[in-house]
């Protein structure tokens, strides 16, 4: 449900619109629901609107936690 995908903001256009890119596919979407947006930010887009920004630090933290789990598990097994 709520098919939404992370995309990079590549251009801020006027009128609450922006161009975003995912792996070479571009789309012009509305950023009317987001505050303080900069080129280079990543947003989650759903039905042509950005719903929220992705926090790169928290994204990194999740991956670190997952990696840690792996290390702990490896120790447990060995």
């Amino acid at each position: 449900m709520c098919l939404a995908i992370p995309a990079e903001v590549t251009e801020l256009l006027g009128d609450d619109m922006a161009r975003v890119m995912i792996d070479g596919v571009g789309k012009v979407i509305s950023v009317a629901l987001i505050e303080d947006l900069k080129v280079g930010d990543f947003v989650i887009i759903h039905v042509g609107y950005a719903l929220t920004k992705i926090d790169p630090e928290e994204a990194r933290r999740t991956l670190d936690i997952l990696a840690e789990l792996g290390d702990v598990q490896a120790e447990r097994v060995s």
């Binding site: 449900m1 792996d23 070479g24 789309k27 887009i45």
Partner: protein
């Protein structure tokens, strides 16, 4: 019939097709000469008959027919015309046959722009010339506004297949390998990118191409080991494998990791909620081959520009339910099913 027979040239730039162009009179002859004969230009059409005569080569004849009703008519990488030529050639080639001649019949909507018709005809002529498969006969009809989506094209292709080569849908056997000639989903996504209300920006082009020379290379490298070939057009790879599973009374087990999909196609599919396995291809083939022939066939495919990304994606298995099963990148399993109806973009 040269255009010197007509007093005034057709206004290709601004003119429109009207009912007189389909009524068999001078206007129709004019249209045919200046648009179709001009774009297709070959010795058969130059003779101006309602039919084309040619010698029949030795071997079994192969014949196919197709209808093209796509919308939009123009898309990145081609149009309905080039698609029609490639598609028909491919249907013949999938039998392992050498395509020889094409026919093309046009049903044109009243009011259709002559400029667009010429663009389509030019693309067909170019595709036919490049493939070495001429369009030797055709027909033209015009219907009232609203009765055709711009233009419908119907084609027939004939070819010849070598004696002893009998590729057919019921021939897949347990243990056979499944080869695909390249990346999946390019055509469907390229068309979707220009569809009204769904547009997105991409460099992606349709993969529409004539595959007969790739097929010829495969037949030479190991024709005896090829059971069946099919091009995964509407419905994508999923439809093709499910059809073959039913027709050969087998199942398939394929590897998700092996299936080649361009990143832009994957991204567009994510954006719209589509599955690349269900998306149409117009320049790719699926070949079910004997396991001992797979290696040589892949080498031959990869040596050809249209088969550079060819890969073995899995095998034929025994399965009373005729399922196409796929091992996901996670090692879990899922079924790849036919779609019911056209795949629609989703929000959910």
């Amino acid at each position: 019939m040269s255009s010197k027979a007509f007093r005034r040239k057709l206004d290709i730039r601004n003119g429109r097709v009207d009912l007189s162009h389909g009524s068999g009179g001078r206007a129709m002859a004019h249209l045919i000469a200046e648009v179709f004969h001009d774009s297709f230009s070959n010795e058969w059409l130059a003779r101006g008959n309602d039919q084309a005569a040619f010698d029949v080569a030795a071997g079994r004849m192969v014949m196919t027919t197709d209808g093209y009703v796509i919308s939009p008519l123009f898309f990145p990488g081609g149009n309905i015309g080039s698609l029609a030529v490639h598609g028909t050639i491919n249907d013949v080639a999938m039998a392992g046959a050498r395509p020889l001649y094409l026919s093309a019949s046009f049903i044109i909507e009243e009011g259709f722009a002559l400029a667009d018709l010429k663009k389509i005809a030019d693309a067909m002529g170019a595709a036919a010339r490049e493939a070495g498969v001429p369009i030797v006969t055709g027909d033209t009809k015009v219907v009232e506004r609203g009765k055709a989506d711009g233009v419908f094209i119907s084609t027939t292709g004939v070819g010849v297949v070598a004696a002893g080569l009998d590729l057919s849908a019921e021939k897949a056997r347990v243990g056979d390998r499944v080869l695909v000639s390249g990346t999946l989903g390019d055509h469907g996504i390229a068309v979707m990118s220009v569809r009204e209300n769904m547009t997105f920006e991409t460099d992606l082009m349709s993969d529409s191409a004539a595959l007969h020379e790739l097929v010829a290379a495969m037949v030479e490298a190991g024709g005896a080991g090829i059971r069946v070939m099919r091009d995964p057009t509407r419905g994508g790879l999923a439809a093709t494998l499910n059809e073959l599973a039913q027709q050969s009374r087998v199942g398939f087990r394929i590897e998700e990791e092996a299936i080649p999909v361009r990143p832009a196609v994957a991204a567009a599919c994510e954006l719209l909620g589509l599955d690349p396995l269900n998306v149409a291809n117009e320049g790719k083939l699926v070949a079910i081959v004997a396991p001992e022939a797979a290696c040589d066939l892949l080498t031959a495919m990869r040596a050809h520009p249209l088969g550079r990304d060819a890969v073995d994606i899995g095998q034929v298995v025994e399965d009373d339910h005729r399922f196409v099963q796929m091992t996901t990148s996670f090692g879990g399993g899922r079924i790849v099913d036919w779609l019911s109806g056209e795949q629609l973009p989703r929000i959910c």
